[in-house]
């Protein structure tokens, strides 16, 4: 199988009874056929006790009797079936979120059950109250309702109670505070009514409120889990692994989480570094574009520092792993990142902003109601009942759903456009931006090199060069591989690491690689070299060698995306760590006037701070390690999926694919979503303006409360669903001119 040079045993966990378990992210699963093919294919292996593919998360769980097969065999079998799979780092698998989602679903089921049964009794009481229900029957119904409602509220209300309690302890008010207060007061008052044989109990309102809010929360949670799972799969498939050199000199592939400072790792040419460290043995050239934005390769020798995210281009290296040390680039990035993230955590979400005026308003209204009725000479029981009714009817059912419902719809739309949200409130912030700041390398340009001008090379030479490139690990060869047109690699091709590939085809030797490797003189090579691209040489037999220019290509639709962004009235800007010449070339082509080159991470933050001080709201789009602090400092940030891990974690959202269009689309979707959020908040305000006087005057009965609550919830949900509709639902149509 040719796969035995990797040892995946650190991805395997023991589940007891001699059975071991491994989770894999699988790429390319598209239909039921794939599921059956994979599961049956693995079931055929000896010792396999379970192989089940989760089609939603595209993850495969495999279990087998320990020792029956090697984990490599599983990955190898999948590869033979045509699926790229990568084991999941057990340390990275988060089960806390899954447990939280299950908890919400259970709460929802309990609240739903309780709401239905209590409603059954409540409707009887409401109709009985205006006809001929006997007080005994009504009391019985109230008692049964109480017996259902008390455990249901105690169980289903916990997420709200604990969040409200935490907020109050931190001397803040969030949306869960009025919710908790409303629910508890409704329960308390209803219990009092039940004890005294009163006419009105609000058990149904309390439970229904919890049910509606839990639905909103569950949907929100589910969408976030789904995008998170997708992002984790991509991370696993990118192979966040390293080849660790064991003390006895053998090597073994381990997840990055299993590497400690002081370990030694082997980095073959063409590998991306997953750790930071100091070169121990070997010399090579390093592509640091993902880290500094610099596109020219840097030479490294023993003693030099190398960073995670960089690409080892030529030789193979042994690297001694270090933790982030003082004074290094990584240390600087980490310090800046921490500062930016602290500043960010002070940012208020829209919902909490609403809660800030909402809670005092309704609580004051309730207090005034109580005082007013007492002053007018009503009994204090009557005044208290009315005041509580004010709190119940204004309980933020609509307000609690107004924003989550829109967020769920918007993140679903974004998911389908290839944008995965990291932060739930990214949508509301994306809608506010007025400036888009791009990093150049890897963001405006493609992460992989491409041919500068495929037309400049004779088609036959290009085909042969591409065929040779298939046998190479060199990063530049990736640019040629796509031109191979389905040709098979040449049998017997040999790669000389760092120099090139040679193979005999029909007795003629073909060579692809550096100038020296193809017999080109140093002078000729210098003459052909340009600033904007790197050269790869191809030579067939004794014919003269042909230079093939490879460069960092601009993303195919970057020009259109930049134009569309400008059309939406947003300013654009480039902040790059690369040389001025390279930045100017890209900026001129894209028509971006405002560009800065040669920036350090701190410079980028300084520019963003200056923009912020000028009152601008910036969307930062970047991928490099040097962008991570800027991504965290910007008002909102996007990062391509090819970005280094740290940047992806710092960004509010990650977009997939080679296209830059997801940036435009996410702005469009967010603006629409923000409009719907604002409408929903206004609607919730209007609802309260109408409901409070009715409640203050004492006209609220449980029936009115139930109708108002469910009616307003349904309305805001329908308004949220409206975000999906409209002419520009799927593509990118002209943006309406009334942007937020």
């Amino acid at each position: 199988m040719g796969y035995h040079d990797r040892d995946l045993s650190s991805f395997v966990t023991d589940v007891g009874d001699g059975i071991v378990h491994m989770d894999l992210a699988v790429e390319g699963v598209r239909c039921a056929g794939c599921m059956a093919k994979i599961e049956k294919g693995l079931a055929g292996l000896p010792g396999i006790t379970r192989a089940r593919l989760n089609f939603t998360s595209k993850r495969l769980a495999v279990e087998w009797s320990d020792g029956a097969i090697a984990p490599d065999t599983v990955v190898g079998t999948l590869r033979d079936l045509g699926y790229r799979a990568h084991p999941f780092d057990p340390g990275a698998a988060k089960s806390a979120e899954a447990a939280e989602a299950r908890r919400l679903l259970k709460g929802m089921a309990v609240a739903g059950f309780a709401a239905m049964n209590i409603m059954l009794l409540s409707v009887s009481v409401w109709s009985g109250n205006i006809t001929d229900i006997t007080p005994e029957t009504r009391d019985l119904f109230h008692w049964i309702s109480a017996l259902i409602a008390i455990p249901a509220v105690a169980y289903a209300g916990q997420p709200f109670f604990s969040s409200a309690f935490a907020a109050l302890r931190a001397r803040r008010v969030n949306m869960d505070v009025p919710i908790t207060l409303g629910v508890l007061l409704a329960m308390g008052m209803s219990l009092a009514e039940t004890f005294t044989g009163g006419r009105h109990a609000y058990f149904d309102a309390a439970v229904m409120l919890l049910f509606f809010l839990l639905v909103g929360r569950f949907l929100d949670m589910n969408m976030r889990r789904r995008t998170r799972a997708q992002a984790e799969n991509l991370a696993a498939l990118k192979g966040e692994t390293a080849t660790k050199i064991m003390p006895d000199g053998s090597t073994r592939l381990v997840p990055v989480s299993a590497i400690d400072p002081g370990d030694r790792v082997l980095i073959a040419s063409g590998d991306r570094l997953a750790v930071d460290g100091v070169v121990d043995v070997g010399t090579s050239e390093i592509d640091q574009s993902l880290v500094t934005g610099e596109t020219a390769y840097a030479a490294v020798a023993p003693g030099d520092r190398v960073y995670a995210g960089t690409l080892n281009v030529t030789g193979s290296l042994t690297v001694q792993v270090t933790a982030a040390a003082k004074g290094t680039l990584l240390d600087e990035v980490n310090t800046l990142l921490e500062a930016a993230q602290t500043a960010r955590s002070n940012r208020l979400r829209l919902a909490d902003k609403a809660a800030r005026w909402y809670a005092p308003t309704v609580h004051t209204a309730a207090a005034l109601t109580f005082l007013g009725w007492v002053l007018l000479g009503a009994s204090w029981q009557m005044a208290l009942t009315t005041a509580i009714a004010v709190l119940i009817i204004t309980c933020p059912c609509a307000l609690g759903l107004a924003i989550p419902a829109v967020q769920v719809v918007a993140s679903g739309l974004l998911f389908r456009s290839g944008v995965l949200l990291n932060a739930g409130d990214a949508v509301e912030r994306l809608a506010e931006i007025d400036t888009v700041v791009f990093d150049k390398t890897g963001t405006l340009t493609l992460p992989e090199p491409v041919l500068a001008d495929p037309g400049a090379v004779a088609p036959e030479a290009l085909r042969m060069a591409a065929r040779l490139a298939l046998s190479s690990n060199h990063p530049l060869a990736a640019a040629l591989k796509v031109h191979a047109d389905g040709l098979a690699p040449v049998a017997g091709a040999r790669e000389e690491t760092g120099r090139g590939v040679a193979a005999a085809i029909d007795g003629i030797e073909h060579r692809l690689g550096s100038a020296g490797f193809c017999g080109v003189s140093a002078d000729a090579a210098r003459a052909a070299a340009t600033d904007a691209s790197s050269l790869v040489w191809y030579r067939a037999g004794e014919a003269s060698a042909v230079p093939i220019a490879v460069s960092q290509g601009i993303r195919p639709d970057a020009e259109e995306a930049v134009r569309l962004i400008a059309e939406r009235g947003l300013a654009t800007m480039i902040l790059s760590g690369d040389r001025a010449a390279a930045v100017d070339a890209a900026a001129d082509r894209l028509g971006i006037e405002d560009r800065r080159a040669g920036l350090t991470p701190a410079d980028k933050i300084a520019v963003l701070d200056a923009l912020k001080a000028a009152g601008r709201k910036v969307l930062m789009v970047g991928d490099g390690l040097n962008d991570a602090p800027a991504l965290a400092a910007a008002h909102v940030s996007l990062s391509p999926v090819t970005a280094v891990h740290l940047s992806q974690a710092a960004a509010d959202a990650v977009f997939l694919g080679d296209s830059l269009m997801p940036v435009v689309r996410s702005i469009d979707i967010s603006r629409r979503a923000r409009r719907a959020m604002d409408q929903n908040l206004w609607f919730a305000a209007l609802y309260n303006v109408l409901a409070i006087p009715i409640a203050v005057l004492g006209f609220v009965t449980p029936l009115v409360a139930a109708l108002a609550m469910s009616g307003s919830s349904v309305l805001v949900t329908l308004n949220a669903l409206r975000v999906r509709m409209g002419p520009d639902r799927l593509g990118i149509a002209p943006q309406p001119k009334d942007g937020a």
Binding site: C31, A32, G33, M35, A36, K37, L53, N54, F55, T56, S57, R102, L105, K106, A109, V110, F113, M116, N117, L120, L121, T137, L140, I144, I148
Partner: protein
Amino acid sequence: MDILFILIPVAIGLGLLGLAAFLWSMKAGQYEDLDGAAWRAISDDDLPEDEGKRD
């Protein structure tokens, strides 16, 4: 109105039955892979070996 003493427990009992069924199905992992379940329903896995071998 004595019928209430039978009907209300019946109504609540049926509701509890539904709740219990839901909690059981959740515990059994039936909501873990909704998309996959939809596809599995149309796969031919449950046919005898000779008929199911068409893929």
